[in-house]
């Protein structure tokens, strides 16, 4: 089966592929099938749920893929750090 990550990467870099995906569900299914994506991966992409897509892509790369950094938040409130933790 083809890699989900490679297909999403293709969508990100190829405007025509992205247009095909967005045109209609049928068009998206045809494009994904032609690429060789499994039915499970097709369903995940069609769900449009970014968290599911992230989890599934990450599975393909385990163990080297890292936890998403975006769950880190940047608060600029100046909180003193205890010296023992430095």
């Amino acid at each position: 089966m083809a890699s989900l990550a490679d297909y999403v990467l293709r969508l990100a870099r190829d405007r025509n592929e992205a247009e095909k995906f967005r045109a209609s569900q049928q068009s998206a299914k045809q494009a994904m099938t032609a690429f060789g994506l499994s039915n499970e991966h097709q369903e995940i992409l069609l769900s449009g749920d970014p968290n599911r897509i992230s989890q599934e892509v990450q599975k393909e790369f385990a163990p080297w893929a890292h936890d998403p950094g975006w769950t880190n938040t940047q608060c600029m409130v100046n909180v003193p750090i205890p010296k023992t933790q430095k």
Binding site: V8, A12, I53, S54, P68, T71
Partner: protein, 262 residues
Amino acid sequence: MTAGTLTVVGTGIQAVAQTSPEALACIESADKVYFVSADALTEYWIRQVNPSAESLNGLYEIGKQRSITYEEMIDRVLAPVASGLNVCFVSYGHPGVFVYSTHEAIRRARKAGYVARMLPAISAEACLFADLGVDPSTSGCQSYEATDFLIYHRRFDTHSSLILWQIGAIGEWSYKRNVNAWNVSGVRILTDILLQHYPEDHMVTVYEAARYPCCDAIILNVMLAELPKTTISAISTLYVPPHGGAEPDLAMFERLSAADAR
């Protein structure tokens, strides 16, 4: 030995697709790339573009204060600059928006005498303007990190747009992996404060920019009073539109007109 350099770039909010050609060229040509990615896809792509790429995401640890992680990132990025390498530090979104480590790395590199610069990129705010059809020139736009907004009692104008960032992570100082709302009680407190200034039925928007080309932005329009019951994640942003119109200062208008006539 040649002098090292530091270039800080961003990959935008939507994985890969929002990286500018200028940023891509920097990633490709760097001697050493460090990155903090928002998703495994971007990590996969950056490693393809430049095999020297090394993730800094591993420096985050559950329960570890983020300020410590940021210091470690800065040290890691600056070490090869001092060794004479051209380093590219990649972050998601805009590298200068809500990112302490990138700004600080540039400050320290320059202080040490190295050439350091930051390239602009697509931020969540840029996506919000596009997706919600908000033009900051219409009534102005105020933008605060939500915890900062509450702790410092930021003064704001209800006649102007208000954007509050990280409403799902109010009062959270450490790193957690859960994408779902981290601090529901924080959202309740924020709502209480906003209700002192806006009516209960004032419509607000909980927003998340699209993260993949096959996804839409998440746009939830709710009454302010209902905000604590809304699905909020760690990356949700709150957009509060202006309430009513501001009264123009006619005396100032005349003063400006007179100045123009001179």
